[in-house]
């Protein structure tokens, strides 16, 4: 309902559309338990929502001097749609899908901060409540509300329209949408403390939104399929990712029989669709890496040469600390820990990097393999310092403890009489 109403009222009145829909829902909550669900529930809800929007618009007009001709246009549209609703014609699935897409593009407009787009999409497109969003991002409800208010204000100020972008604008707009979707997904996928049910919800929503894009022939660009494949491959691993204590399991330790095969299959189909055309996006490369893992029965039989080749390409396009660290891990798998350390050393050091736990634990792991227990401990302790969540901390502490044991064993061996 919000997508349709926003379409009619315009993105400038997104808040009004939300309020009108909320009003209708609350009315339903009051009346339907006693009167029963009406014969055409959506028509009922739409009628109440539209009337509410009209009421607010009318009373708003009294405060202004000049008639906004846009408003009478809006009123006409609402009346048209209302009579269509009553005849049971409303909600052709294609129209509904288009309206949802238009709203997604509005919420993910490049001019909005990405974090704001994520929250706005969840609220307005996916129907999440402020409390749920706050729980998911470990933020306060107040900060999320503010983020939403600022985003809507920006939409008004920038004159953003609620419509699907033209072919000319599509590449830039689509890039922004994909960024937001992947941000949403990683927020859910990241091993943070907090409600794991919410987290899985976020992954699901990101995938669902991606599929809305893929279902529209104009939107279904190869990158969209690539991102979907990536998200599906990663989401497939969720059932295997934590042990019975809620602790993280590495790829090496996961029980692959728990991976969701149906999701992997869907991912492979999207990967195939992604192969059309010549553009090789970073999503393509990441999806290919994820596909290799998904198709490998045991960690020990992983084709690291292939993965390294993909990371080489990825590092050229997107030399971020995350990518370069992952590449170093692949380097170590193929050429050994000394090369792994060298690959890490190539990463330009800057502020952001020192606070990236995975980099330090990777370095620690390489040192450990080489028997440099002091260096390893130093790295793991650095990682511990910048760990952000309980599961991350426990994971690193386990590594440190393991180091201790290994070190003792090695020294015992060394100090044995020659």
């Amino acid at each position: 309902m919000v997508p349709r109403l926003t379409r009619i009222l315009g993105a400038q009145r997104l808040a009004l559309a939300e309020d009108a829909v909320q009003f209708a829902m609350l009315q339903a909550l009051e009346l339907w338990p006693y009167d029963g669900v009406p014969e055409y529930p959506s028509a009922w809800l739409s009628r109440v929502a539209y009337n509410r929007a009209l009421d607010v618009l009318r009373s708003d007009r009294k405060l202004r001097y000049f008639e906004d001709e846009k408003e009478s246009e809006i009123r006409k549209k609402i009346d048209e749609l209302q009579s269509a609703n009553e005849r049971g014609l409303a909600g052709f699935s294609q129209e509904v899908a288009d309206e949802k897409l238009a709203l997604i593009f509005t919420c993910c407009h490049p001019v909005l901060p990405r974090a704001a787009s994520v929250a706005l999409t969840l609220k307005v497109v996916c129907g999440f409540g402020v409390a749920e969003i706050a729980r998911a991002f470990l933020a306060t409800e107040v900060s999320i509300s503010q983020r939403l208010v600022r985003a809507k204000k920006l939409i008004r100020e920038q004159g953003i329209r609620c419509e699907v972008p033209s072919p000319a604008q599509l590449p830039e707009r689509l890039d922004a949408v994909l960024e937001v979707l992947y941000l949403l997904f990683t927020e859910g996928y990241a091993a943070s403390s907090g409600d794991s049910l919410i987290k899985n919800d976020l992954c699901e929503e990101a995938i669902r939104l991606g599929e809305s894009l893929a279902e529209n022939s104009a939107m279904a660009q190869p990158e969209v399929h690539a991102l979907l494949a990536l998200m599906l491959f990663q989401a497939a691993r969720l059932p295997a990712r934590t042990d019975e204590f809620g602790d993280l399991l590495l790829l090496a330790e996961q029980d692959r029989s728990l991976w969701d095969r149906a999701m992997i299959h869907r991912g492979l189909l999207h990967l195939e669709s992604a192969a059309a055309g010549e553009k090789l996006s970073t999503y393509h490369l990441q999806a290919e890496v994820a596909a290799i893992h998904a198709n490998t029965d045991e960690f020990t039989s992983t084709n690291w040469e292939q993965i390294l080749a993909l990371y080489d390409l990825l590092a050229e396009k997107q030399p971020t600390p995350v990518v370069l660290t992952n590449r170093a891990v692949a380097v170590a798998q193929v050429h050994g820990p000394v090369e792994g350390l060298a690959a890490l050393a190539m990463i330009p050091s800057d502020e952001q990097l020192t606070r990236y736990p995975f980099l330090h634990s990777a370095e620690g792991e390489f040192h450990r393999r080489l028997g440099h227990f002091d260096d390893a401990a130093r790295c793991f302790n650095l990682a511990l310092e910048c760990a952000r969540t309980e599961p991350e901390r426990r994971f690193i502490q386990k590594k440190l403890a393991g180091l201790g044991a290994e070190s003792i064993a090695m020294h015992k061996g060394k100090s044995a009489p020659q």
Binding site: M1, V2, M25, P33, V37, G127, G129
Partner: protein, 118 residues
């Protein structure tokens, strides 16, 4: 079979911040609860009362005084009622419990309806 009235008392301003998704879930629960009663031929009436507070009439110093009742925003009010058919209080109470009304401060008053025997 005797009739019972379920008076649904509502705590102020519950659920006004619920998300559309959450509201859908609750509506589905009410729908299912109602349907079961209708199918079992136990639902006699459902009456939703207005949120406007209503009017209170009392005798005050020999004259009738009319005041506005409480608004649902700030005080607990009677939201509505159902009349159902049930064998006895135990069944009426069981039926009342299975509905989604009992959340937060909401409460349900179950009263038997007296029969007028000729």
């Amino acid at each position: 079979m005797p009739n019972f009235v379920l008076l649904l008392h509502q705590s102020p301003k519950m659920l006004s911040n619920a998300s559309p998704e959450e509201i859908q879930t609750i509506l589905a629960k009410y729908g299912a609860w109602r349907e079961e009663l209708v199918k079992a031929n136990k639902m006699r009436a459902g009456i939703k009362l207005g949120n406007d507070g209503g009017r209170h009439l009392r005798l005050n110093g020999g004259k009738v005084a009319v005041t506005d009742g409480p608004y649902s925003e700030s005080q607990e009010v009677l939201g509505g009622l159902f009349m159902i058919e049930a064998t006895d209080y135990d069944e009426a109470v069981r039926i009342a419990q299975t509905g989604p009304h009992l959340v937060g401060g909401n409460w349900i008053e179950v009263r038997s309806v007296d029969r007028v025997h000729p």
